[in-house]
C-alpha cells in the first residue's frame, strides 16, 4: 500500500501530511519496508513508494493487538 491508501483506510486516524513521516519511522525500526513503484511506460510524475509489512512488523502488530485486547478486557467494568 502507499501512503494515500493508508490515509483513506484509516478513517481519519492518519493524516496526509504526516503519514510518510510515520512510515519512515516505522521503516527505520524495521516494521515496514518500501520500494519505489516503477512508472508505467509513458507515465510521468514521481514514482510512488509502496510499503509492506515485514515479519518483525507482523509480530509487533500481533503483540500490540493482543496487548490492546488484554487491556480492553481488564478495563471492562
Amino acid at each position: 500500500m502507499y501512503g494515500l491508501q493508508l490515509v483513506e483506510h484509516s478513517d481519519g486516524t492518519l493524516k496526509r501530511g504526516t503519514v510518510y513521516v510515520t512510515l519512515g519511522r516505522m521503516e527505520a525500526k524495521g516494521f515496514v519496508e518500501s520500494d519505489e513503484q516503477a512508472l508505467p511506460p509513458g507515465g510521468i510524475g514521481l514514482p510512488r513508494r509502496i510499503y509492506r509489512l515485514t515479519s518483525v512488523g507482523e509480530r509487533v502488530l500481533r503483540a500490540w493487538t493482543a496487548l490492546a485486547h488484554e487491556l480492553a478486557w481488564e478495563m471492562k467494568p
Binding site: 501512503g3 510518510y20 512510515l23 518500501s34 512508472l39 513508494r49
Partner: protein
C-alpha cells in the same frame, strides 16, 4: 521525472524544487517525494473536473506544507548515526542563528548604541563569511589525538585557523571588529600593520641571506 516533455507543468514541481533546497536526500526520498507523488496522482485521477482538481491540489499542497512544518522534528535517522536529524539541520541551524542574532540586534540596538550594533552586525557577517569559506575549503589542520573535553569558557585561542585565505579573513575580520568597536585604539591597527610589514620584510631578508638556516638537518648526508 516531474515534468512531461510536451504537456502542462505537473503539480508539485515547484514544491519539489523548494524541498531540494531545504531537505536532505533521505528526507526527500522517503517523505517529500511520496507526498508530492500522491498529489500528482490524485490531481491526475481528478481528470478534467475543475472542482475535483482544485480539491486534490488543496489536499496535496496542505499535506506538503504540513510536512514542511513537521519535517524538522522528524529525526528518526539520528538514532542510526546518520549524521543527525533527517530534516535540513543546516537550514534550521542557519534560520535559528539568524533569528537569534537579528532579535538580539533589534532588541539591544537602541540600548547599546549604534557603534555596538554595527560591531555586532560586522562580526556576524565575518562569522558567516569564515564559516562559508571553511565549509568550501575544509582546513587541513590535524585532528587532536584525543577528543577534547568541552570547555565551558569562551576560549578565543582554541579557534582553529589555518594559514590560508580563511585565516586571513579571520585575522582581518577580527582587527576590523576591534577597530569598529573601539575607535579610540584604531591607531593600534595602523601601528600593528606597519610593524607586521617590517617584521615580514626583515624575516624575508634574513632567510635570503641565510638560505640553509632553519631547515631540518639531513643526517644521511653526514654519513
Amino acid at each position: 521525472m516531474t515534468r512531461s516533455t510536451n504537456g502542462p507543468r505537473l503539480p508539485g514541481t515547484t514544491l519539489l524544487k523548494i524541498a531540494r533546497l531545504v531537505f536532505d536526500e533521505s528526507m526527500l526520498s522517503t517523505v517529500v517525494q511520496p507526498t508530492i507523488s500522491d498529489l500528482q496522482r490524485e490531481v491526475g485521477e481528478a481528470g478534467p473536473n475543475r472542482v475535483k482538481r482544485l480539491r486534490a491540489q488543496w489536499r496535496g499542497y496542505r499535506a506538503f506544507w504540513t510536512l514542511a512544518l513537521v519535517g524538522p522534528f522528524a529525526s528518526w535517522h539520528s538514532s542510526t548515526g546518520n549524521g543527525g536529524a533527517v530534516a535540513f539541520p543546516d537550514a534550521v541551524a542557519r534560520l535559528a542563528v539568524a533569528s537569534i542574532v537579528l532579535t538580539l540586534v533589534a532588541v539591544a540596538g537602541p540600548f547599546v548604541g549604534l557603534w555596538l550594533g554595527v560591531m555586532i552586525a560586522t562580526a556576524t557577517l565575518f562569522a558567516i563569511v569564515i564559516h562559508r569559506w571553511y565549509q568550501r575549503h575544509p582546513s587541513d589542520l590535524p585532528s587532536p589525538p584525543e577528543p577534547q573535553k568541552a570547555s565551558p569558557q569562551i576560549n578565543f585561542s582554541s579557534t582553529e585557523v589555518g594559514g590560508n585565505i580563511g585565516g586571513l579573513i579571520f585575522a582581518v575580520g577580527s582587527v576590523l571588529i576591534v577597530a569598529i568597536g573601539l575607535p579610540p585604539v584604531i591607531w593600534f591597527l595602523f601601528v600593528a600593520i606597519a610593524a607586521g610589514c617590517l617584521l615580514a620584510w626583515w624575516l624575508s631578508h634574513w632567510h635570503a641571506s641565510h638560505p640553509n638556516s632553519g631547515l631540518p638537518v639531513n643526517r644521511i648526508v653526514w654519513r
